[in-house]
Symmetry: C2
Subunit: 388 residues, 2 copies
């Protein structure tokens, strides 16, 4: 065990439980004498570059418990891929502040950043324990059964669809919701729990003609139709449905898919124009940042596991010369064990929805997916109306 | 007291508590011998025209209690303004089914429908007790202190902004949310409770130049800015910001303002293009139908009052030759008494945000508004982060 200071950073889009992991690291670190200062870097790696640190030892247990229950990244976050110059600076700062432990909470881009820094540390013989602690509502990290942050977002999305299902029964028509998840359909799939008739995933390129045909069929039978569409849905040519309209990419080269209503409006207009049903009432909502930030919904399993992965990372760090990314392994139904993966095995890789979770028609989920997701989100609100 | 059957209908956009009013009417009606059948009309006045009724006596108390807690209009809803021919048909159906009591749960359009039917009933000497039971998330009915449905939607919107505030602190930039409410700023105003720096209301026409100037100032001071914009916001010429793009109107002549991301995208692009801050990160979300349907959030006060107005309407009906619209009168801080207003005084009228609730700059709310709204929504989730 090396004696030294510990730095925690948060990176990428926040989740409902990203602060559980922060507090998990912090409370576990308090137990170990090898760890001296517990520093929070403001705004991820940018806080390291600017030596902008918070002393986490000064906050009371009660304050940290409330932080754990709060959405957003309590330390601030960033989407910054370090340049060579940045990496040089990181090591200057780490040496100056005697940092021997670095815990980075984030998605696959953050794992990449951690991996880059780790490789340099090894080359330089700078003794540094680096851990990537997974978080992403997109659930798109490889190896792990699921990612902390996903179950809470999934629960929120399922509940939005529950409400929309009831609304759609009240005022029948076609209702389309655009769901987050980048290039993976994990979040979109949860719409099925809330009553979506149709779900379209990035994993299954699809033509608008097929989508309209599906909607028309459901509408003919039920007089209404509720549809979930992934923001990353692709046309049969493999291109994003609105490829030409995407103007922004982030530092890691990811296109901006969220924060615009374009895709929803495109769907509304297309379905109205091409459905054989006359005067069809079509509405689209683009589910926004509330998917990752809404304070009113949390999955209890998610909160617990997000705390656990933070604690586990510190325990691994105390075992010696180990680095890596924390992963969750599912045993039976439903237990979790924490394991460790190589940073390079997580970095930049994307886990898409497996075939066994998508139905044969490519427009919905399978029973296997429902079995996978159910223990993660727990009980949804009970609802009923008089007219089923 | 006339002996006969009772019909309940639900109309317009559902709310989180519209079924509380339905159950309130139904449970109170069970207590009175004058009321024979208790019928639910499917899809509002359309259910009357089609004689599409549910016998509400057949549902257990437990089922109705769960219905009361469920979003959406349990009987189905509609946006249909009756034609002369429809009115003729309504009286044929009422006579055939011996309907002597009609309770219509809805907004100002529904009050208009009730008023039309009421006037015909009087002319024809058809003895009919008609009551309009208020519901609307827009809170835009006159006379009443507030409308059932508004407090729950207000709580949801405030919580969305709480989450967005935390998200915006994590990844600073300009975040704009488009909020429902048609031509009144009541819902948008609640964004202030959740941390919005700026709110723009239909009551105060505003230029985009002024909006960008406001945002730039906040951003300069705080490095971030959270903005709430009413879907019905108007330009200085008094026209809707996107007047030319609105294609649909409903049967009551109201333009479709919701269900499109246009306004949000317009704001994003305008602010990006005109801010003096370079490479400004701007995102807009259009808060969707979840504002009226999200099952996970309800104001307890709202649920209680929505039940109360239903019960009260039946009690009034038992008093004799009375018709009208139920209103809530606020006494002190905070009690409610139920009163009755004339249908014609409610029909088609819109209550906008009063001057005393809008700040001098026309871009936020006053302390008086906070005092008005606070008892209606109750406690919001406690949150904290480490970096205030």
């Amino acid at each position: 065990m090396i004696k030294g200071n510990l730095v925690i950073g948060q990176s990428g889009g926040p989740t409902r439980v990203i602060n559980q992991s922060l507090v998990g690291i912090s409370e576990e670190a308090l137990k170990h004498e090898a760890i001296e200062k517990i520093l929070g870097a403001r705004f991820g790696i940018k806080g390291i570059l600017k030596e902008n640190f918070l002393d986490l030892r000064k906050f009371s247990r009660d304050t940290l418990e409330l932080v754990a229950q709060t959405s957003g990244a309590a330390l601030g976050s960033c989407r910054h891929k370090p340049t060579e110059e940045d990496c040089e600076k990181v090591f200057q700062v780490f040496a100056k502040h005697n940092v021997k432990y670095w815990f980075y909470i984030g998605g696959n881009d953050s794992a990449e950043t951690a991996d880059i820094i780790n490789n340099i540390a090894r080359k330089r013989n700078y003794e540094l324990r680096i851990f990537h602690i997974p978080k992403t509502i997109d659930n798109d990290l490889v190896i792990t059964d699921h990612c902390p942050g996903y179950p809470s977002a999934a629960k929120y999305v399922a509940m939005v669809f529950q409400g929309d299902d009831l609304d759609n029964r009240s005022l029948p028509g076609v209702k389309i919701n655009i769901v987050m998840g980048r290039h993976a359909g994990w979040l979109t799939a949860t719409a099925a729990l809330g009553g979506a008739h149709l779900c379209y995933f990035p994993e299954r390129p699809v033509s608008m003609t097929k989508i309209v045909k599906d909607i028309d069929e459901i509408y003919k039978k039920q007089g209404r139709c509720l549809v979930a569409v992934s923001e990353g849905v692709r046309n049969v040519d493999g291109k994003l449905m609105l490829e030409s309209k995407i103007e922004e990419v982030d530092a890691h080269g990811n296109p901006q898919l969220s924060g615009s209503g374009d895709l929803g409006d495109f769907f509304t207009n297309y379905v109205k124009a091409h459905s054989y049903h006359e005067k069809l009432r079509v509405r689209a909502d683009t589910l926004g940042y509330t998917q990752r930030s809404f304070p009113g919904v949390v999955s209890e399993v998610d909160a617990k596991e997000a705390r656990l992965v933070g604690q586990a990372a510190v325990k691994y760090a105390m075992k010696g010369d180990i680095d890596g990314s924390i992963v969750l392994n599912r045993i039976g139904e439903y237990q979790i064990e924490v394991k460790l993966a190589k940073l390079s095995d997580i970095a930049k890789k994307t886990k898409i929805l497996p075939d066994e979770f998508i139905n044969r028609e490519s427009n919905g989920v399978t029973k296997k997916f429902i079995e996978y997701i159910s223990p993660l989100i727990g009980q949804l609100p009970l609802t009923t109306n008089l007219c089923h």
